[in-house]
């Protein structure tokens, strides 16, 4: 008992009469009510001050400024004009896809291989993005994918590139959702035996093709070991230039600053750039190139404008 009184005195600071205590209690309650109401008013005001946006605003999503895909998009769609200041950057095709699936108002651009039921692919000038339209040249936003070697390819690297460019290799390109290059040559492995290590690095876009091709190629030549890593086009070109990998993958051509590396270019596939929106977006199914440009410039900011 004594102990309790002691603790009480220590906690409260001094002893109180019961009347004092009651008065204190009442005052405390009043103040708490006042405080809570102040907080409530404050939060209501706060939420009122946040302007909830009207209509269905467009969220523009795209690749980062170091990306090969963005460079292509900027040249062929934007005609080298600036993007909207609200253009949100993602550093991979998958990142754009992810963002579009998560955000109802988003629009993004990805490679053909990334289009599936999770997003809605838009037609451009009423032309669907598919391999046939890319090959015939009617789909307006398409580009080539490359691999690079330091000097002309030799040995294992040469065999591997020949394999990818053959009909067998191009089947893999097609399976991965890319557009094959026209070829009639078949790959002949009879009588050859390859061994050693081949290292490949570079573009995240090209990565799935070479990863799959590697698996098939290693079945043909069991003594061979191939590693494929996705580091980005720039890093891939740097690495092959520095000799740390044998083959560099890239979704863009060499830049002027990279022209002195002594690299040789091989085209292995084509790719279409597809505009995707969230499946909840019922406002559009088709855009003209001019409309795409207007959206990415920030001139059209709301999907309402299409209804």
């Amino acid at each position: 008992m004594v102990n309790k009184v002691y603790i009480f005195t220590r906690v409260v600071g001094c002893t109180m009469s019961s009347i004092e205590q009651k008065r204190e209690q009442k005052k405390f309650q009043q103040i708490m009510i006042a405080l809570i109401s102040i907080i409530a008013i404050f939060s209501i005001l706060g939420s009122g001050c946040i302007q909830s946006q009207k209509g269905f605003p467009i969220v523009v999503v795209g690749r980062d400024s170091a990306s090969g895909s963005r460079e292509f998009f900027w040249e062929y769609v934007m005609k080298k004009e600036n993007f909207s200041v609200f253009y949100l950057e993602k550093n991979s095709n998958g990142g754009i896809y992810q963002s579009v699936t998560q955000t109802p108002g988003a629009i993004g651009y990805v490679g053909l291989g990334y289009v599936d039921n999770g997003v809605k692919a838009l037609t451009i000038n009423n032309i669907t993005a598919n391999p046939a339209n890319v090959l015939s040249g009617t789909y307006p936003i398409a580009r080539n994918l490359y691999v690079f070697t330091k000097g002309n390819a030799t040995g294992v690297a040469k065999e591997f590139i020949t394999f990818i460019q053959s009909t067998e290799g191009q089947v893999i390109v097609q399976e991965e959702g890319f557009v094959p290059i026209p070829t009639t040559e078949t790959y002949n492995s009879t009588g050859k035996s390859l061994s050693g290590i081949l290292s490949i690095g570079g573009s995240t876009t090209v990565f799935p093709i070479l990863e799959k091709a590697k698996e098939t190629f290693m079945i043909l030549y069991p003594g061979l070991q191939i590693t494929v890593s996705s580091t980005g086009s720039g890093a891939g070109i740097t690495a092959v230039g520095a000799g740390t990998v044998d083959i560099g993958m890239s979704s863009r051509d060499l830049k002027s600053s990279e022209s002195n590396l002594g690299l040789v270019k091989y085209t292995i596939a084509s790719d279409a750039i597809v505009l995707i929106v969230n499946p909840e977006n019922t406002y559009v199914d088709n855009l003209s190139l001019a409309q795409v440009k207007a959206i990415y410039k920030g001139e059209i900011t709301n999907w309402n404008e299409f209804s």
């Binding site: 600071g13 001094c14 204190e24 005052k27 405390f28 103040i31 006042a34 405080l35 102040i38 008013i41 404050f42 005001l45 001050c49 946040i50 909830s52 946006q53 969220v59 795209g62 980062d64 400024s65 170091a66 990306s67 090969g68 963005r70 080298k80 600036n82 200041v85 609200f86 253009y87 949100l88 950057e89 993602k90 550093n91 095709n93 998958g94 992810q98 963002s99 998560q102 955000t103 108002g105 599936d116 690095g201 995240t204 990565f207 799935p208 590693t227 890593s229 996705s230 580091t231 720039g234 890093a235 070109i237 740097t238 690495a239 520095a242 000799g243 740390t244 830049k255 600053s257 990279e258």
Partner: protein
């Protein structure tokens, strides 16, 4: 005790001779003995030299980081101009013409940090007061490790949580078009800064002398009055230092910010300070996103190094300020005599009045410009009401209200921790299985497991610790055992402190420029190991120093008195009891190394499924695997959650071991 030993150490140069004196005086020197004797001296000297070299390693590292960043960043200042780089309002390095204006990135970094501090400071100070002044020992034993746990969650896991949960929640509940915003970044960074600020502030509050508290109670002050008028003011400089360290951490954070802030491509300065849902791009996020694909040697590449240099300078300045404040605090504690201020009290009051007035006017102007007259008036009214109530409230009621506020703060922190843990555990538990842990990924990580990533992380971490532990322990031994406090130790400690404050992404860029390109290592296990080793070096130096300091001086003196040499004393007497402390430091280093993504992103890791056979091959690592899954591989939600949980369990497991070791030895070791 320390002092007396330091006094004795003045004869440190000829410590070997001194120890052998008795022998010499007993009988004449024999050639053999002489040879033996000189060999001993050589051994002692060479050990000292080696230790000295390890001690200056931290300084060498920080200097080479600065040199390499400068070397690769300098060209951009030439092409774009330093002023244009700092003040240009558009970051468009691949445009025509290319623009390298880092100003919006700097503003973005500062705004995110400002928001983070608004979130973190009240919560952390509340938690610190609660832990050190209010909590019972039992509560303290639960809450302190819980807050430390917040520090242990890897930043990529925070980013994952932010990307999936926080941004979606913000978007829906505030009916915005996108949740990726300044607010999301600030909330997340605020949470991440809480443990840093709390632990430093708590140390500062705990070290306030008991007499202050007792004196205040004796004068009849309530507990809250004592806390608010006596304890917090006297711990203020420590709390400030904690806040500054928290700011440093927030500025340097990469992964989480990059995943939730939206990253508008040219950098974006929000139109008003109230526009918290504007997307924002920070210095770190720019590096994290653009570094991977940039063409080496291009202007864009140099511009990114310029950004890294800028980031390093900002964080160094912030950390130096914190170090100065903390050092001053230490000096003050040593010599409590106050310097007399020349200002009279009335002038001081006047200054204070003007300061308060300017701040209020600034706030009013800011509010008016961003929210309009009506809202400003309302806010003014609310503030006035609170001020009026404050005067009316009695001490006891004030105490209750304050304690309720503190309880709300600590509960908020615990709830945040709980929500993050519950989300990750409940989502990840389904994916976690033996197959998941023991198989390689397939279908780009959507199915299959994470075995190569686990192995890669273990490789990276073990290599890093093998490099950092000898360096760090050697440096600490040199600092504590071989030198007196002086200019040299100050410089070495400053080097370690600066290294500690260097953002992890800067280590990544340095590793890329130095190991990958300059030394031509390529993306390799070794490059990643060394980069991580440099990052955890200061942690190991710091904890080893503490461990060595805790060994009583009398043990060393006893050993030396028995004729042991300096090195024998260190090896046989000092190191064994300090081992648990050193081990704790090493484990903390391992925990940090296992969770970091930014330093290995450009030096060692690739998203692939092979296990390296040699040091020159690249690896995959858990945090990087999670980052790629979460940001680049659609429809991999199950494996994302599984990887996040595996990473969290790994890192928390490591920390738990450290805590257990610490607690075990704290209990068993009594001097």
């Amino acid at each position: 005790m320390q002092q007396s030993y330091r006094g004795r150490k003045k004869t440190e140069e000829d410590v070997g001779k001194e120890d052998w004196k008795p022998l010499r005086s007993e009988k004449p020197q024999q050639p053999f003995k002489k040879f033996f004797h000189s060999k001993k001296i050589i051994k002692e000297k060479s050990i000292k030299t080696v230790l000295f070299l390890t001690a200056i390693s931290a300084i060498i590292v920080i200097f080479s980081i600065i040199i390499f960043l400068f070397k690769d960043g300098y060209p951009i200042f030439q092409t774009a101009g330093l002023w244009e780089f700092l003040s240009g309002t558009r970051w468009n390095p691949t445009g025509e013409p290319p623009l390298y204006g880092a100003f919006p990135l700097i503003v973005g970094t500062l705004l995110v940090t400002l928001g983070a501090m608004i979130v973190a400071i009240p919560l952390s100070i509340g938690s610190a007061i609660f832990i050190s002044e209010i909590a019972t020992p039992k509560m303290k034993a639960v809450i302190k490790p819980a807050i430390e746990l917040l520090a242990g969650i890897p930043s990529v896991v925070y980013g994952f949580f932010g990307l999936i949960v926080l941004t979606t929640w913000l978007r829906i509940s505030f009916s915005q078009s996108s949740g990726e915003s300044w607010l999301a970044g600030s909330l997340l960074l605020g949470i991440m800064a809480i443990p840093t600020i709390t632990s430093v502030a708590e140390d500062a509050i705990s070290s306030v002398p008991r007499e202050f508290k007792e004196g205040s109670f004796a004068l009849g002050a309530t507990r809250w009055q004592t806390i608010s008028k006596v304890i917090v003011p006297s711990a203020l400089s420590g709390i400030t230092a904690g806040i500054i360290l928290g700011i440093g951490r927030a500025i340097g954070e990469t992964m989480a910010v990059m995943m939730v802030c939206g990253n508008p491509t040219y950098g974006l300065i929000p139109t008003s300070i109230a526009n918290v849902f504007a997307p924002i791009k920070t210095l770190t996020a720019t590096l994290g996103i653009e570094m991977g694909e940039v063409a080496t040697g291009s202007n864009h590449y140099h511009a990114l190094f310029g950004v890294a240099l800028l980031l390093l300078i900002i964080t160094l300045v912030v950390n130096i300020i914190a170090t100065i404040i903390l050092n001053r605090l230490k000096e003050k504690q040593r010599s409590p005599s106050k310097k007399k201020t020349h200002l009279s009290i009335s002038i001081k009051q006047q200054i204070r009045k003007t300061l308060v007035f300017t701040i209020i006017m600034l706030c009013v102007v800011l509010l008016l410009s961003s929210m309009g007259i009506l809202l400003t008036a309302c806010i003014g009214l609310v503030v006035g009401a609170v001020y009026y109530l404050r005067k009316k409230v009695s001490a006891k009621t004030g105490q209750r209200i304050a304690f309720i506020a503190i309880a709300v703060a600590i509960l908020t922190v615990i709830v945040i921790l709980g929500v993050i843990l519950v989300y990750i555990i409940s989502n990840g538990a389904g994916a976690l299985s033996w197959e998941f842990l023991s198989q390689g990924p397939s279908n780009l990580g959507r199915s299959g497991g994470i075995y190569p990533a686990i192995i890669g992380t273990l490789y990276l971490v073990s290599g890093a610790i093998a490099i950092a532990l000898p360096l760090g322990v050697g440096a600490a031994i040199y600092l504590i055992e071989y030198t007196r406090e002086g200019r040299l130790t100050k410089i070495i400690r400053a080097g370690a402190d600066l290294l500690n404050g260097t953002p992890s992404i800067v280590f990544g860029l340095f590793g890329f420029a130095f190991f990958v390109l300059y030394l031509r290592m390529g993306f390799s296990l070794l490059a990643g190991q060394i980069t991580i080793a440099f990052m955890i070096l200061p942690t190991i130096i710091r904890t080893t120093e503490e461990a060595l300091k805790s060994v009583p001086q009398s043990l060393r003196e006893g050993s030396l008195a028995l004729g042991a040499t300096k090195w024998q004393t260190i090896k046989k007497v000092v190191l064994p009891p300090a081992a648990p402390g050193i081990l704790t430091g090493a484990i903390l280093g391992i925990g940090r190394a296992a969770g970091e993504t930014a330093p290995i992103m450009f030096t060692a890791v690739v998203f692939s499924s092979f296990i390296p056979q040699s040091f020159v091959e690249p690896v995959n690592a858990l945090p990087f695997h999670l980052y790629i899954l979460a940001t680049s591989i659609p429809n991999s939600a199950r494996n994302q959650a599984g990887t996040a949980l595996a990473l969290l369990l790994l890192v928390i497991g490591i920390y738990l071991v450290a805590v257990l070791i610490r607690n075990h030895y704290q209990k068993t070791m009594k001097w």
